[in-house]
Amino acid sequence: MFDPSDVVDHVRNGMLPAHIYNDSEIFAAERDAIFSRSWVFLAHESEIPQVGDYVVRRVMENSFIVSRAGDGAVHAMFNMCLHRGMQVCRAEQGNASHFRCPYHGWSYRNDGRIVGLPFHREAYGGETGFSKRGQRLLPAPAMDTVNGMIFVSLDPEAPPLREFLGDFAFYLDYYTRQSPSGVEVLGPQRWRVKANWKIGAENFAGDMYHTPQTHASVVEIGLFREPKAEKRKDGATYWATSGGGTTYKLPPGTLEERLRYVGYPDEMVERMKGAWSAEQLDLIGRDGFMVSAASVFPNLSLVHNWPKVADSDDVLPFVSLRQWQPISENETEVLSWFLVDKEAPEEFKALSYKAYLMCFGSSGMFEQDDVENWVSLTATAAGTMARRLLLNGRMGMLPDGSTIAPALGGDEWAGPGESRIGYGEYNQRHLMNRWADLIEAGPARTAAVTVGTPGEDAAR
């Protein structure tokens, strides 16, 4: 029987029992305690721009249809017929006014309302036997959006998404609101890797330390000019409520010069100045930091980089959003999207797309080497020796719990949260402490839902 106390105290001490990266009991606990409670990203509104558009996405093994109904409202509904449990939608995306179950022909409008129930009167005695009025495909227990990003939580008591994200919303804007129009989201590339889902989330949250080693090859071929060891440690990491990330320190210059340095054309810079707060602009223009990778608890990550995409000295920035979808204790489906500002010039959009493909995603040259490492780690974590080994995740922390690098003051870091310059696993510890809190809290309580049958309360 799994006892959370075997792992959470070690995790809170910055020591990671290696088996948590490949352990079926831990994975079951994550499903019941973490993914049954947390806000999980499903889709972006720009993926379903027209009335009737839908995509099908999952939270763990739970399939949801995310659709735009006739009134333009977005719905996330459990993809399971109320009668015998078929998936009412077996495509990944499309446009539909209705979803009809192929099993017995029950049909549902694209807002989830049941509209067709064959032989309702003859088979059920009409409304008396099965009350279809007001019945709908089970909605996601909670749904909310920020910057067009659609999140759901399986916990109906989940705090509002904005409250959950808290101060991370400040940083999310750099990736998903470079103009008042926001971003368009393309993809996702999907592929499965034999790695535990937490590794990617931890890596993107704060691992500046891996860049010069893991990604040495992309510097050698001139794709990327930044990740040399001595430059990476000049960056800062930050943690803000439910997410955190890494930054690069930019060369001296004005706000405009620094945004141009990473490849943004003047017209996009002007729109950023209109879209971001004084503090958001100061973090770049005054403090000289540019966001790179980031993670939001539990399994959403972002990345912003600026490689060369042609045989010249120019660099082109791109943004990617990705989800580490847990499949099992040793397998993760990566969903990786490319994001670009809706108002960006078409030429910028095309070259930013090229930059993304060269660097991240299923064929990306950064990502290729990351996954090799994570697969190797996961395989090794399966054995009994891994149950003995506590991995050291205490970088940046001294034995008395104090930190090597001081927290940056308000005159050095214009953003909210806690930030520090240099290498350290501060963010990974924040992420894993949140993990430990939920694992310790145990499975979320859920209530059964009955449909169509009157008097179900009396029957209990």
């Binding site: 499309g94 590339q189 592929w191 797309y353 299923s362 080497d369």
Partner: protein, 195 residues
Amino acid sequence: MTAHIPVSSADSPLGAHATKAAPVGDPLPFADPVHLAAHQWLVDETYLLDRQELEEWLARMTGDVHYYMPIRVTTSLGTGYDTARRMAHFDEDLYSLQRRVARLRTEHAWTEDPPSRLRHHLSNVRTFATDVPGEILVESAVLLFRSRGDVNEPSLISAGRSDVLRDVGGAWRLARRHIAVDESVLRTQNLAVFL
């Protein structure tokens, strides 16, 4: 209603420069010398890819090559598309392919060190004349078997390909490759390999 929807460079944000050659007529007879040459070209290519002789592989491309592998998505019959809008696994020109090969030649491309054991199984080859002089279109099926390490599960990638070969001074060069991968979700750790 056909389930077959051809891949098109016109769907790529980077495909404007690609040749627009389209097949004309029935497949060439298997005894046709053009078909035989095209078939040999593809077989020879599998050996270059399996042995990771990638500089030689790149030398068989034209300067304006478009190497394009869109993302396949599951859509209902009759939807009219089965690839993701403006997103791909590969959408390459000669420069980006050269960068990928150059990276594999560094001492720090961990994902291919130790190297994968690769076998490109090639079949279903047929050749068409096209509406562009000096260009032929060759369709083929490829099954890539990839084994890494001693006990890792091997991965398979199955795809259909539609290639345009251009006669450049008497030698065939790859001017366009469209790869229709047969899975929506790839079951391989990355595409540090080519199809």
